[in-house]
């Protein structure tokens, strides 16, 4: 699986998690959206969402890797790279 494909899949999965669990509007979940300012998440929300993605794609992301993540796109990049590496 190429990284572009996996990124698209991750974005979809992330959107699903954010909408289902954190009651975020689906159309608000764009790569440019700021997780905290635009989507109103906090660090615990981000952690829960990442854990859901980790479980689903059987990957593992360290806290340090997520430290500087502020947008949906940045999160997708990091998660997508993990999925591509594990494929």
């Amino acid at each position: 699986m190429g990284s572009a494909d996996s990124n698209k899949e991750i974005l979809e999965a992330l959107r699903e998690v954010l909408v289902d669990r954190l009651k975020v509007e689906a159309e608000a979940v764009t790569p440019q959206a700021n997780l905290f300012d635009d989507l109103g998440l906090d660090s615990i929300d981000l952690m829960s969402a990442v854990m859901a993605i980790e479980e689903r794609f059987e990957i593992e992301v360290s806290d340090a890797e997520l430290e500087n993540v502020t947008t949906v796109g940045e999160a997708v990049e990091i998660l997508g790279a993990k999925v591509a590496a594990s494929a």
Partner: protein, 241 residues
Amino acid sequence: MSALQNRVGFVTGASRGIGRASAQALAEEGVRVAIGYREDKEGAAAASALCPCSIMVRIDVTSPESVASAFDEIEKALGPVEVLVNNAGLRRDGLLMRLKEKDWDDVIATNLTGAFRCTKRALPGMLRGRWGRIISIGSVAGSVGNPGQANYAAAKAGLVGFTKSVAREVAGHGVTANVVVPGLVDTAMTLNLPAAQREKLVERIPMARTGTPEEVAEAVRFCARASYMTGNAVTVDGGIA
């Protein structure tokens, strides 16, 4: 109907004493309780018989594998744990000068690290459901100290700091974390105190008597029901602290 009706609860060390009474109090509120036990299967069965819709789960909180499999088992049978009571505990008393490394380690491993492990495992499910209650059983030894219990007091005081931190981490997510801090309570764990020490302890209690597991379980029930209390230590000690 109780606000706790049909919630899923898990009480570690529930085969007797405060754990059993807490499981029973939660069951009275309609919680479907998993009765955690390590060795005393008979006690766990007796506790389970008092709690409608309960299951029994073997768990050794000092083992990460055992904690993982216990939670897996509960999730399969009842669903994600929503009310966690970190009660599993043990004492290995001794004056500090003679306290063995192992007695220190065992007490910290069960009373403090065990609670960390179970809470960590339970949290994602609680956050997912946006509702959860973490209730840890501390001890007044952790707030006022007790000669011969430096290890136990350290672990129990540790639970308070642990709980206050977790409470702040998840406060905006429908999950509360509190500690119930019992004084001297009649349980198998305290009945083996030397008679002289026990007498001296009772003398320090303004209410001039020991407490019962059921009296402590009332505070556990309260912590499970309370929606605006978090990071708190609820003392149930006849007035000692």
